[in-house]
Symmetry: C2
Subunit: 143 residues, 2 copies
Amino acid sequence: MIRAAGCELCASPGGHVVWSDDRLRVLRVDDAGFPAFYRVVWTDHVGELSDLSDADRAHCLDVVVQVERCLRDHLKPTKINLASLGNVVPHLHWHVVARFDWDSHFPQPIWGVALRQARTEQLDAVRAALPVVDSALQAALPR
Amino acid sequence: MIRAAGCELCASPGGHVVWSDDRLRVLRVDDAGFPAFYRVVWTDHVGELSDLSDADRAHCLDVVVQVERCLRDHLKPTKINLASLGNVVPHLHWHVVARFDWDSHFPQPIWGVALRQARTEQLDAVRAALPVVDSALQAALPR
């Protein structure tokens, strides 16, 4: 396993691990404003998507798409946002976030300025559905 | 071709077209603060990555990775940022942005709050290298 000293995604899972294999893990991030926030974290300390072999890249992106599908199927979000940034933690990880037209930043990216405060009931309703998303993910991904 | 009324990416290219085939186009966006900003825009009006067939999705992501490779090879950026958001324009498009540790927002996402003003000479140096990036992309992508 390739690890880098001082990298927080090498040192700890980085969230609640919903599924993993020998190459990557799928995390659910505990974010107050965006409850349906998942991450796909590559196990090895690799900086960019293009550092992966073709097979590894395909696997990584297949899992990203599978997370997207489960979020769409079970939460009916307004939009899915996908991003691989890694400016702060340059260890390959994908953000997969279900966005709703009522969320604090929509239609702005989650990294921008809040436009409103989301209603607690709406956030709670999404949060209550996450175990079903997690189970669907576990069922959809290879054992 | 699937088009949607009122969609700006159905109505116009959305930037300087560097390369295209029958399924997608690669654009260079004219952004003052982030000169090495490319977009991969799917031709059909499709909202999410998971709406594509497996073959189309693989093609789309292969092109995204090829843009990433050309940016890395020719600009040596600090980081590549990839994102498919589409909250404002829900027509599948990927942002591929070369980030530099001196740019206005680094290490924050480009959609956040500026941390500094980038120096004109550094922006100009990146801008001057873009024709080489475009040529490399045209050479790397299938004819």
